[in-house]
């Protein structure tokens, strides 16, 4: 097998006997592009060689009646780190070699230790310096020249072009002075070998520093990758075996002991424990889980030992998908970076033109020796121009900002969302599950005359048993808790935002809000007054009517999240208007609104109208962020300028919104906005620095200060400035890693 042929590893689920191996192998081998496929029954894995996408292989295995998932270990990240380390060592070596030559040349030149070039001894010295510098250019600077040549052939120019031209010109001119001293005026007989060597040393040094600083920018991804343990304890044939995590198959049973990390996603089949999910969700409190509950790979088992069945492995786990999303977001770019992109595209050829013009201006109008001045100014222009700082300014900040957000359980889909989140003027909060816990419970039962609580609940729960509405579950649970037998219902029909209709014992039963009753002409007697009392306490009153007469009210309360009020206060503190939207009645909504302190309430809004209400706010000139559960509110989240999907744990659909808040707390919204603002500010600082650096220093290098101050920039100083410019941008971006750390630390303190 050719080593260069890419290989893909799959976890295979559903293989019960060795006979399955041949079936799966054949299915894989029949996929076009597959050169070789081997299934390991013991490991429940397959290794496939060939030019083929993993998705085609997974589909082929599924078609054969098995399940497959791509396994991507941490090798890729380890390989990347090893390659970066090797590159860093190479840069260090090149810096050292260049510095060993550059330092004596520089010191000798500064202290005028070398004899003048016009003397024979001076020419010998010059020749020796020229050869030593050539070694530096070839060994330590060869990659600049190779890159410049390849770019040139592709009709393109980059930083290599500038460095190669700058240092190459210095060396060629110096050698020409040595070889043909009579061709240049005596005052211009100067060699610039030390400048070429120093510049190469400095730029390699700067690149090494930049590489180091860049390593820190991807720490968030490294930390996420590091969350998954390397091994898992799999139960096979009644025995517990430690196997590498890549060998865990779908549907296999795994054991997790206290203090161990959960290796893959799955469902608990035996035992219970408290699970610390803070590393993924930012939620500091452990979550109690038992049989049937989902567990997520990468989270920490705190107290008990349990068995769970693997439901997602390899690239399918929540952690792998989070990592993938963060990676993709880190590659995206907001609008703010587009101007820099446009300038970057024409930057280097423009600098080449400026360099030619600089030479001509000095040559025509400069003081004697014109060749020396023209050459130094041209070289300095070429060396000081830094397209890298400009190109790095936006992506490096996005990379750190998105990574920092992910560490707090905030997943930002792309750079555009990151930029928009900082510009919001209003935030619309869905009530249920966002401001409140989203776990409604029956709080009050008000039977009408001739009814009692048990019968009221039996009817209400009977008709709601077929509904998927969140309030329905509360009614059914209340009936079950009281061990009330549900009235058997038929002909069930639900009208979104209103209520349900069903038949019980041949009687027509309606259960829903006041509008539902009014629309159906139900006689409510004095019940609305009682309902108003419940609503004023923040309960949602739902009426039950049988054969057109009210049978009673079921009051359901959904407790407000502990920290909603504080989070909304933080949104106010940053100048945002906070609006709560709900399908609930106005009185209940206002009661909740007063408790948490929102500015405006939009009540009795049907699910399909939420997007329109968001659009209406936008028409008023607001830049709107919508916060909801990401499932029922999907159209409103999509309509908003930034949609925030809020979920508890990893249940939330992580790709449903521009921003996903993995922690159930509303604090995620101001946190995301703070990170967004800090990142955009950081990008602006970087862009400002990169623009000012180039706009100010290129003219200075060209000699703009000479007429007034007789000041010219030394090309070696230009090399130092250029080497440090990228490092400055990367270091500034790295500051983003510390946003909000103090608040997090304060919250973590008991």
């Amino acid at each position: 097998m050719n080593d260069a042929t890419p290989s893909i590893r799959l976890s295979i689920g559903g293989m019960s006997c060795a006979g399955c191996v041949a079936t799966v192998e054949n299915a894989l081998k029949n996929v076009p592009g597959v050169a070789e496929a081997a299934v390991n029954f013991a490991e429940h894995t397959a290794t496939v060689h060939g030019q083929v996408p993993a998705s085609a292989l997974i589909q082929a295995v599924a078609d054969a009646g098995y399940q497959a998932a791509e396994l991507r270990g941490r090798e890729a990240e380890a390989d990347k780190e090893a390659a970066e380390q090797a590159h860093y060592r190479r840069l260090k070596r090149k810096t050292l070699v260049a510095a060993l030559v550059a330092a004596p040349l520089f010191v000798g030149e500064m202290l005028m230790l070398f004899p003048p070039l016009s003397t024979p001894a001076g020419r010998w010295w010059g020749l020796a310096a020229g050869i030593a510098t050539l070694v530096v250019l070839v060994y330590a600077g060869g990659h600049f020249f190779r890159g410049a040549w390849k770019s040139f052939l592709a009709h393109s120019a980059n930083m290599d072009t500038l460095i190669a031209l700058g240092t190459g010109t210095a060396w060629v001119y110096s050698m020409a002075v040595l070889a043909f001293p009579d061709a240049v005026p005596s005052l211009a007989q100067h060699a610039y070998f030390e400048a070429a060597a120093v510049i190469i040393a400095l730029i390699n040094f700067g690149a090494a520093l930049e590489l180091r600083a860049r390593g820190k920018t991807s720490e968030a991804i490294k930390r996420l990758i590091g969350l998954a343990p390397r091994t898992a304890r799999v139960v096979r044939d009644g025995r517990e075996l430690d196997v590498p995590i890549e060998e865990v198959g779908l549907n296999e049973t795994l054991r997790v002991r206290p203090g161990e990390k959960i290796p893959v996603d799955g469902r608990i089949v035996d035992g219970r424990s408290a699970i610390d999910e803070s590393m993924l969700t930012g939620e500091p409190l452990p979550v109690e889980k038992g049989v049937g509950d989902e567990v997520v790979g990468g989270t920490l088992n705190k107290t008990g030992s349990f068995l769970f069945q693997a439901t997602r492995v390899g690239a399918d786990t929540a952690l792998a998908r989070i990592i993938e999303m963060v990676r993709r977001a880190q590659s995206s770019k907001p609008a703010i970076g587009r101007l820099a992109d446009k300038i970057s595209a024409v930057f280097v050829p423009s600098v080449l033109l400026v360099a030619v013009l600089t030479f001509l201006v000095w040559f025509n109008f400069g003081p004697a020796p014109v060749v020396s001045y023209a050459l130094v100014a041209t070289m300095t222009v070429l060396i000081i121009a830094c397209p890298c700082a400009l190109g790095l300014a936006t992506p490096i900040s996005i990379m750190v900002g998105v990574g920092r957000a992910a560490e707090s359980g905030i997943l930002i889909r792309n750079g555009e969302a990151l930029q928009q989140a900082g510009r919001l003027t209003a935030v619309v909060l869905d009530k249920t599950g966002t401001v409140t816990e989203g776990r409604p419970a029956v709080a009050t039962l008000v039977p009408a005359a001739g009814w009692d609580e048990a019968r009221l609940l039996a009817y209400a729960a009977g008709v709601e048993a077929g509904s998927e509405h969140p309030l329905a579950a509360a009614v059914v649970q209340a009936a079950e808790a009281r061990q009330i037998v549900l009235a058997p219902a038929g002909d069930f029909a639900a009208v979104a935002g209103h209520g349900v209709r069903a038949r019980v014992d041949g009687r027509e039963v309606l259960f829903g809000n006041r509008k539902w009753m009014d629309d159906n002409g139900v006689v409510l007697d004095a019940l609305p007054e009682r309902a108003a009392g419940l609503a004023a306490r923040g309960e949602t009153p739902m009426y039950l009517a049988v054969d057109g007469r009210a049978a009673g009210i079921v009051g359901v309360a959904d407790p407000v999240k502990d920290d909603s009020r504080a989070a909304i206060a933080r949104l106010h503190a940053i100048g945002l208007k906070v609006i709560m939207i709900t399908g609930d009645n106005a009185v209940t909504a206002r009661a909740v609104a007063e408790r948490v302190g929102v500015d405006e309430v939009l009540a009795e809004v049907l699910p399909e109208q939420k997007a329109d209400r968001v659009a209406a706010l936008q028409a008023r000139g607001e830049i709107v962020g919508m916060v909801g559960d990401g499932i029922n509110d999907a159209p409103a989240l999509a309509r908003a300028d930034v949609g925030f999907a809020i979920g508890t744990g990893t249940d939330v659909a992580i790709e449903s919104a521009a921003v996903t808040l993995m922690r159930g707390s509303l604090h995620g919204v101001p946190d995301a906005i703070a990170i967004s603002k800090a990142t955009v500010r950081n990008i602006k600082q970087n862009l400002f620095f990169a623009f000012v650096y180039n706009i100010v220093l290129i003219p200075v290098a060209a000699g703009a200060l000479y007429p007034a101050l007789k000041l010219m920039l030394n090309p070696m100083l230009a090399g130092a400035a250029m080497a440090m410019s990228s490092v400055t941008v990367v270091s500034n971006a790295n500051r983003l890693r510390w946003i909000g750390r103090r608040r997090d630390a304060a919250e973590a303190r008991p």
Binding site: A4, P6, Q51, P53, A76, D79, K80, A83, E84, A86, H87, R90, H143, R146, G147, A148, W149, K150, S151, F152, L153, A154, H155, S156, A157, N158, M159, D160, T161, A207, E210, L211, R214, R327, R328, S331, S332, K333, D341, S344, A345, V346, V348, P349, L352, L353, V356, L357, F359, L360, F363, N364, P387, C388, L390, G391, L392, P395
Partner: protein, 120 residues
């Protein structure tokens, strides 16, 4: 005399820079519809840097990064919303579909590596 020669040479050089880097394009390589085209990432350039493809048809670019510098570690198709991480010495396939005829740039994050998909 030498003054004129130097000035003329300088102006010609400036004109050559404008022509070579802005007005003329590298030769394009044509990708078969639905085919795979290899792109080498090295020395500051994608080779080939200009690829002709059929509009509204998926095309798979198989990148092989040789340049260890971090500048080359990502390839982005901003207009097509696609990107890929490019580990050194590993082939990485990326399938994109240019929706209509036109030019679609693909670049590194810093826009120093630049290539163009020309959809016809």
């Amino acid at each position: 005399m030498s003054l004129w020669i130097v000035n003329l040479a300088g102006l010609l050089l400036a004109a050559a820079i404008v022509w070579w880097f802005w007005l003329s394009a590298p030769r394009a390589r044509r990708a078969a519809a639905g085919g795979v085209i290899d792109v080498l990432v090295d020395g500051g350039v994608y080779t080939p840097a200009r690829i002709e493809v059929t509009a509204a048809q998926p095309v798979t670019l198989r990148f092989l990064r040789k340049d260890p510098s971090p500048c080359a570690e990502k390839v982005l198709f901003d207009d097509l919303g696609a990107s890929a991480d490019l580990p050194v010495d590993r082939q990485v396939e990326l399938t994109v579909t240019p929706p209509r005829a036109g030019e679609y740039a693909f670049t590194c994050q810093m826009k120093m590596y630049r290539g163009t998909l020309v959809a016809r």
